[in-house]
């Protein structure tokens, strides 16, 4: 019975392979986009874990020499013998890798890279090994063993091995264990070494959370859109198989068995679609990952490889998502079958019965969600709230769409001239409920597109402007010591307009990691520095040593405004006289005048030079500097920096662009399927109008026009939603995630492009059913009357 029933149900797909393809495609896309994003996130998370595992993220406090030099072993032993729990680390370059030498006997248990403590066989083995990351496996290092938990470009070994390999015996720094023995004075009092506290804020997990949340949100959106498609396809399949289902029951297939068979069929299709989706998701993720990796490196300095690993756990989770998605999409269809009376004639569902109540409920829910979105946006309270506001806005907009469309169409009714126009309006209004899922998908995709393109566009304009202001000099040099600096200055002598010394020192600002920059008194800065807010004569105060500039990041984070005091060095606290834009920098920064800086930090020599020169002379200067032995890395010319910065920027948002385009494509597909479903079920509505005296061509044209009108209305509604989304992204999400606020710039040109795209999608989707209608044999239409008893 099972096989016979299943063969009857499955034979349907043989006749309608397109429908099967749509169902598989919908589930596949949903799975692929969702799992692709998950794969990227998992890969990034894995990279952060690896990075954290090797101490580079400063989870432990450290002792180091102020001058950065090595710490004599005797100093380390002296600290141990005074009772302090510290552990030596030698960090050095070796064969192009950053080589870390650890002492597992004294290191905090969780300071060893994952895998060493548990997988390997103990100290005797560890001390004989050199562990490298998988990326360096083929570098041919003697005795190297691959440890997957290591970040790219690092190697780890016992400190004795590192000493033997490199000849470096003195630790680079000492880790300070979090729990020190009882009854000891603070460690700072026991040593001349500088204590550096753990840096919580440079944890890339924290810094990149926003980025990943962004991706996840897009993944979810795409997943939802994919489910719309699957839902439509399943609904269509059930709708079309109604007579078969009734015959099967009449011939003696019990209802429960029938439902089980339909569920089994769905499960099988979902499993196939899920596997395809996992594969596609992997391909998407692998294609996007280099961009994501570039973004994360560029924005946060988070080390992440560009190659995607394949994790079976991820694949299984993605498959489960596909099955759950299919279940969600198919539940209503199965419910309908279960409640379909065995004797009921094949009447299409009575549209719009009771529909008023659903619309009212949707409108109320949408209003509540909008209120919630406004509330979340108004309350300053972290990234999660910002994203919650975003989610409420989008969901509310989707729910508001059917009632708003319905209301607009009912308001337009008095405008209709003639019976046909009236019928078109009334009929369109009825259609809204059947199309609502697809239209919601379109709305979300359009709104996301408007929002993201507005954000990226605003960011780009602001960023380019800021680059021009910030990169005031034509050439930047970095010397490794003051003598070299003098030598360089001599080489440049007389061929430049100005040579401006640049100095900087890494120092916590108001308890947060940050740096202080020294700025020469020069029109280069006075005229162009990207000030957001400044007191009168701010530059005079800067160079007189009576004021300091701070970047927007620290000002926002610490709530600084003009006049607030900022401690800069022991005994030196200056009021804020200006706040400047500093995009792309996750840390706080302060600017002092060069004179006051030298007075405050006599030990920090200015090793940088900003050089003003005729742009045409720059290549020549660079050549001379290289000839003088200055390494490439120490020379940056403005044009090159600008180019690289913009490249990093473009890469940053390539992923967002790609996902937003994919989402739009998926929404287009959803619309096509919805129209196909509806077209079939709409024959009974169209046949009488045709019989009363309208040509099929006119009816088809009307169908097409109606689809375009609905898409256009949806776009018009998506526009304000998208702009609200952009506002949230720029003013809430960016502020929380990156620490800077951006002006919102509108790009109506983009909207036009998007509107055309939406019209194209809807038009293409409606064309096929309309063409079919126009060419439909009159007998088909007549059958409506025969079958509908």
């Amino acid at each position: 019975m099972t096989r016979a029933g299943l063969s009857a149900l499955l034979s349907h797909w043989r006749q309608r392979p397109g429908q099967l393809a749509a169902l598989v495609l919908g589930l596949m896309l949903a799975t692929a986009l969702w799992s692709g994003v998950q794969a990227i996130n998992a890969e990034a998370r894995n990279a952060y874990d690896r990075a954290e595992g090797v101490l580079t993220q400063g989870r432990f406090a450290r002792l180091a020499r102020a001058d950065g030099g090595p710490i004599p072993v005797a100093d380390y032993v002296a600290l141990r013998r005074a009772g302090y729990l510290v552990s030596p680390v030698i960090e050095t370059d070796y064969a192009g890798l950053t080589l870390l030498g650890l002492d597992p006997l004294t290191a905090p248990a969780d300071a060893l890279p994952g895998g060493i403590a548990t997988e390997t066989t103990g100290f005797a083995d560890f001390s004989a090994q050199l562990y490298v990351s998988p990326e360096s496996a083929d570098q041919g290092l003697p005795g190297a063993q691959v440890l997957p938990s290591l970040p790219p470009g690092t190697a780890v070994a016992d400190i004795s091995t590192v000493a033997r390999l490199t000849g470096v015996f003195d630790p680079t720094y000492l880790l300070v264990l979090p729990d020190q023995p009882a009854f000891l004075p603070p460690i700072e009092t026991a040593t001349d070494l500088e204590l550096r506290l753990p840096d919580d804020s440079t944890d890339p997990g924290e810094m990149t959370a926003a980025f990943h949340m962004n991706l996840t949100a897009f993944g979810l959106l795409s997943f939802g859109v994919g489910l719309f498609i699957a839902h439509a396809a399943i609904g269509l399949a059930v709708e079309q198989r109604r007579p078969v289902i009734r015959t099967l029951r009449a011939l003696g297939l019990p209802l429960r068995r029938l439902i089980a068979l339909l569920a089994l069929e769905l499960l099988g299709i979902a499993a196939i679609a899920g596997i395809l989706g996992v594969l596609l998701g992997y391909v998407i993720a692998a294609a996007l990952l280099p961009g994501v990796a570039g973004t994360l490196r560029g924005l946060y300095g988070a080390p992440i490889g560009a190659e995607l690993g394949f994790d079976p756990a991820w694949a299984l989770a993605a498959l489960a998502i596909a099955l759950i998605g299919a279940g969600v999409a198919g539940a209503s269809a199965l419910w309908r079958v279960a409640h379909m009376p065995i004797l009921a004639p094949a009447l299409p569902r009575a549209w719009a019965m009771d529909h008023g109540r659903i619309l009212r409920r949707q409108a109320l829910a949408a209003a509540a969600l909008f209120a919630l979105a406004a509330l979340f946006a108004a309350v300053p309270g972290g990234l999660v709230l910002a994203f919650a506001s975003l989610a409420a806005l989008l969901l509310g907009a989707a729910l508001a769409l059917p009632p708003v469309l319905s209301w607009l169409l009912s308001r337009a009714r008095p405008l209709a001239r003639g019976a046909f126009a009236e019928w078109v309006l009334a009929d369109t209004r009825q259609q809204v409920s059947g199309l609502s899922l697809a239209l919601m998908a379109l709305l979300l995709a359009l709104a996301a597109n408007v929002g993201v393109s507005t954000m990226v566009g605003s960011f780009r304009e602001t960023f380019v402007q800021w680059l021009d202001q910030r990169l005031g000099a034509e050439l930047y040099l970095r010397a490794s010591n003051p003598q070299e600096l003098d030598r360089l200055t001599a080489i440049l002598g007389g061929r430049t307009d100005a040579i401006l010394p640049v100095a900087s020192v890494d120092r916590p600002l108001l308890g947060q990691p940050g740096s202080i920059l020294a700025q020469a008194d020069d029109p280069t800065y006075r005229e162009r520095w990207p000030l957001l807010d400044a007191a009168p004569d701010a530059f005079d105060a800067l160079h007189a040593g009576t004021g300091v500039f701070v970047n927007e990041q620290i000002a926002l984070r610490e709530g600084l405004s003009l006049g607030d005091p900022v401690p800069l060095a022991p005994g030196l606290t200056l009021p804020v006289v200006a706040i400047y834009a500093d995009y792309g920098n996750p840390e706080g920064q302060a600017v002092m005048g060069l004179g006051p800086f030298r007075a405050a930090f006599p030990d920090v020599p200015p090793l940088g030079l900003a050089i003003r020169a005729d742009p045409d002379a720059v290549p020549g200067l660079i050549e001379d500097l290289r000839a003088a032995g200055l390494p490439d890395g120490a020379i940056s010319d403005q044009a090159n920096m600008r180019r690289i910065s913009l490249m990093v920027f473009e890469r940053t948002f390539r992923v967002t662009d790609a996902l937003s385009a994919l989402t739009l494509g998926v929404a287009g597909l959803a619309i096509l399927l919805s129209f196909l479903t509806l077209a079939r079920m709409r024959l009974p509505q169209l046949a009488p109008v045709w019989a009363i005296g309208q040509t099929r061509t006119r009816l088809a044209g009307t169908e097409l026009g109606r689809s375009l009108a609905l898409a256009a209305l949806t776009f018009l509604l998506a526009l304000p939603v998208g702009l609200a989304l952009a506002w949230l992204l720029l003013n809430r999400v960016n502020t929380e995630a990156f620490g800077w606020r951006l002006p919102m710039i509108l790009f109506p040109g983009d909207w036009l492009r998007l509107a055309l795209l939406a019209a194209l999608a809807a038009g293409l989707a409606a064309t096929l059913p309309a063409l079919r209608l126009a060419r439909m044999a009159p007998a088909r239409l007549l059958q409506v009357f025969v079958h509908e008893r």
Binding site: R246, G252, P254, L255, R257, I342, L343
Partner: protein
């Protein structure tokens, strides 16, 4: 084969019953025509007997099995194993071939019928690979009859099996139906509008305002 006693049915919302105390008995090998005006309750009676609907009161027994205690699955099993249904609309499965349609109900009941002789008698031998939409109405109805008979039912219920066919084709289909019922010893209860066709069956009952006359 079929015993109906004091059957009554009123549709929800209706004031008068569609069936009001119908009793009927059809023996194995007997062919009975059920006639009556539109709305007299012919199809309702047929649906009740097939277990597609449930009566208010009264008893239905097919091959000695009482329908009343059966749930949906039980009634489905009864249809599968003991009843052959032939509809006016044929109700073939459009996505299956003629051959698969013929075997379908038998396979549902867990049997693998020998279709060769049946197809030959139905004149379908050359059409086995075709799909229903490629057949004429008469051919489709022959497939539907074949589907019912391939399951070797004790009782054949036919609801205007010739209603969608022209007179000549209808006659041929009825001949076939009666001939097959006779050779398999199945009982036949057929709803028809046609006095001419009704006269050809072994017995005839008339339904009027919910009662048999």
């Amino acid at each position: 084969m079929l015993v109906v006693e004091d059957l009554a049915k009123t549709y929800p919302g209706a004031t008068t019953p569609v069936l009001d105390g119908v009793s009927l008995s059809v023996a194995a090998g007997e062919t009975v025509a059920l006639t009556g005006e539109s709305g007299s309750g012919k199809s309702t009676l047929l649906h009740l007997v097939a277990g597609l609907d449930t009566p208010e009161h009264g008893r239905i027994a097919v091959g000695g099995a009482d329908l009343a205690p059966l749930d949906d699955a039980g009634r489905a099993a009864l249809r599968r194993d003991r009843i052959g249904l032939v509809f006016q609309q044929f109700n073939l499965i459009p996505s299956l071939t003629v051959e698969a349609n013929l075997a379908f109900q038998a396979r549902l009941a867990g049997r693998t019928p020998d279709l060769g002789p049946l197809a030959a008698r139905l004149g379908l031998s050359d059409l086995m690979r075709r799909y229903p939409e490629e057949l004429s109405g008469g051919q489709q109805q022959r497939v539907a009859i074949g589907r019912a008979l391939a399951a070797a039912p004790g009782l054949i219920l036919a609801d205007e099996p010739t209603g969608n066919l022209d007179e000549a084709t209808g006659d041929a289909v009825l001949d076939l139906l009666m001939e097959l019922a006779e050779t398999t010893g199945a009982a036949l209860l057929m709803v028809t509008h046609s006095e001419r066709l009704a006269a050809r069956l072994s017995r005839r009952v008339h339904l009027s305002r919910g009662r048999l006359t």
